[in-house]
């Protein structure tokens, strides 16, 4: 607990005095006057206040050591005032005290110097995401604070939106928003913001056993390190059969916080032999014995009861193909058709086949592509094509809607602009996951020009520069991957227009 605040202010005041300037020469976003409190007179007052607080804290702590319990009335407030972000992060957020976290975080001039209105709202949202039963009133309160925040949408606001979605139980939305932080410039998506977002995403992926994703997050250069992250990285490696010794696992456990609570999990993982892929996320393909129709219906109903892994989807399709091609099923159906007066037993089979295909289509995910499309059973392959077509339609629809809205100049609140954009990008990513580079290029052709125009509109007409910058950064990275030099150059130029 080093007096960072006081030192920081001291350094800034000295630096300002030395340069003779009160305005920092940094990226456009930082020139928005978000730390105008550092103007000479303001900084001086703050410095005096810091010194006073330190004096109060030191004196009251000394008194407490001398068992003068009344000093606690001075020690606690001065501690909170000196270390507001630490108090928020370590005490108020874990306790789920949203409103208090908001107020205390407002004192944090150091951590949130770039984003004064966003930080407190983020802290409050974080507290709600951590509490077991967040009240609707508290969520609404934080949402209202978020609306009153910065005129231009910031990364903190987006993470706050994501955490609020998590608090409401809207996990898909939460994932989409928190992952979208990756598109922002690091000057906007600062380290604390990225740390909060990535820790939630890590926990979420671990809670659902998505270990590949855990590894993807821990390996990203943009994920700020933490001891919990190291532990999860070790567990993910072990779960996925990647190199991670038992000793290494326990070392990471020792380093991580909450050792007592995580012991049971780590022990479970450590018992497994090293370098063995025992629970591959794709699942395993196998044929089930028994009467074919019963087996197919059983597999199908199982898949409906819990989201199936790709291999399970294949199992369902294989079971159906076996059932629908089975002679005994055909004979049984023909006999029944004769009894009840149905004209066409074969069309009943066709109808069921179409129903199965339609049902499997929404369950198709990019993971299925890992099994190799050519190796997929016909029913899954058809479902795969149907899903791909559906995603294309959706992407075209969403992208053209954004475009039409831009052209008509119909504005929605900046948080909603970002949400709509992220939904479009999520569909784009789902589509990319279904195929290789060719599929990605095809999907990119839908959004390439429309999103550039949309980003330009956000930048020029809406003055949502951080968000627009994130749009260009996303397009730029895609254009680079796809070797689209023209688009890459244009988006690079746009990125350089600043924040």
């Amino acid at each position: 607990m080093f007096p960072i605040g006081a030192v920081f202010i001291l350094v800034r005041v000295i630096a300002n005095a030395a340069s003779g300037s009160s305005t920092p020469a940094r990226a456009p976003a930082t020139s928005r006057g978000s730390y105008s409190f550092l103007s000479d007179s303001g900084a001086f007052v703050t410095l005096v206040l810091q010194v006073f607080l330190w004096a109060a804290f030191t004196t009251s702590t000394t008194a407490l050591l001398a068992q003068s319990w009344g000093a606690v009335l001075i020690a606690v407030p001065s501690f909170v005032a000196l270390f507001p972000w630490y108090t928020t992060r370590r005490i108020l957020v874990p306790l789920g005290l949203a409103k208090t976290a908001y107020q205390v975080c407002r004192l944090s001039r150091v951590t949130w110097r770039e984003d004064k209105p966003g930080g407190p709202a983020l802290a409050a949202a974080w507290a709600l995401a951590r509490s077991k039963n967040p009240s609707a009133a508290d969520i609404a309160w934080v949402e209202a604070k978020l609306d009153q925040g910065s005129p231009a949408l910031q990364a903190s606001g987006i993470v706050a939106m994501g955490l609020l979605a998590a608090a409401k139980g809207e996990l898909t939305e939460a994932r989409r928003l928190l992952e979208s932080i990756g598109a922002f410039d690091e000057r906007i998506a600062t380290r604390p913001i990225r740390r909060i977002a990535s820790s939630w995403l890590l926990g979420d992926a671990a809670a659902e056993g998505r270990w590949e994703q855990v590894l993807q997050i821990t390996l990203s250069k943009r994920t700020p390190w933490s001891r919990t992250m190291w532990l999860l990285d070790a567990i993910a490696r072990r779960e996925l059969g990647k190199p991670m010794s038992t000793l290494g696992l326990w070392v990471f456990w020792l380093m991580a916080p909450r050792r007592l609570r995580t012991f049971r999990f780590v022990a479970l993982v450590a018992r497994r032999p090293e370098m063995q892929q025992h629970a591959h996320a794709l699942g395993s393909i196998r044929v089930f014995p028994g009467a074919p129709l019963e087996a197919a219906l059983y597999r199908h109903c199982s898949a409906l009861t819990q989201p199936p892994r790709p291999a399970e989807l294949v199992n369902v399709a294989l079971a159906w193909e076996r059932a629908l091609d089975d002679r005994s099923v055909h004979h049984r159906l023909e006999a029944r058709a004769a009894v009840i007066g149905a004209s066409n037993a074969a069309s009943a089979i066709d109808e069921v086949r179409a129903l199965v295909e339609a049902e499997l289509a929404p369950m198709v995910t990019g993971d299925l592509a890992q099994l190799g499309k050519s190796a997929l059973p016909r029913l899954v392959s058809q479902a795969f094509d149907a899903r791909r077509d559906e995603l294309h339609r959706e992407l075209e629809d969403r992208a053209s809607r954004l475009d039409a809205r831009r052209e008509a100049g119909r504005e929605v609140p900046s948080t909603e602009e970002w949400r709509e954009l992220q939904i479009t990008i999520a569909i784009y990513r789902d589509l990319c996951a279904l195929g290789g580079i060719g599929e990605r290029s095809l999907a990119f052709s839908v959004i390439r020009d429309r999103l550039v125009n949309y980003g330009a509109w956000l930048f020029n007409a809406r003055t949502e520069k951080p968000v627009a910058n994130a749009v260009f950064r996303f397009l730029h990275s895609e254009a680079v991957v796809l070797g689209d030099e023209e688009s890459a150059a244009l988006n690079r130029k746009n990125i350089d227009c600043g924040l």
Partner: protein, 124 residues
């Protein structure tokens, strides 16, 4: 036209709704249908729910009428017969040793101090 999802076809299978075997006669369909409708109209609790492989469902007059209409059409009945092959009881989902249960880490968020524990995945 795009068909209704298969999940709905199973959960609302007329044989499950009417509580009849797939070999029943047309007269039985009419009789049982009429009986359920009368029982529902008088809120008899025995009529409130029916069981399917996908779990217990609420029996409504609309479902009973739809079931009766579907079973009067032989072609539709044939498809329903095919989809009512599993007995009218909730299936037990098996987890083979190869497929490790995915709910094991449901409490990871709370254990790691990152959020409240997740509810294990249930029927969709």
């Amino acid at each position: 036209m795009k068909p209704q999802p298969l999940a709905i076809k199973i959960a609302e299978n007329p044989f499950y709704v009417l509580g009849l075997p797939s070999t029943c006669t047309r007269q039985e369909v009419e009789r049982e249908g009429q009986k359920w409708l009368s029982m529902l109209a008088l809120s008899l609790k025995e009529a409130a729910f029916y069981v399917t492989p996908l779990g217990e469902q609420q029996r409504t007059p609309e479902l009973v009428r739809q079931a009766m209409a579907d079973l009067r059409d032989p072609q539709k009945r044939l498809v329903h017969e095919l989809l009512a092959t599993l007995p009218a009881q909730v299936i037990e989902v098996e987890n083979t040793p190869l497929d490790a249960p995915r709910d094991r880490w449901a409490s990871a968020l709370s254990v790691l101090g990152l959020g409240p524990p997740r509810k294990p995945a249930g029927p969709r």
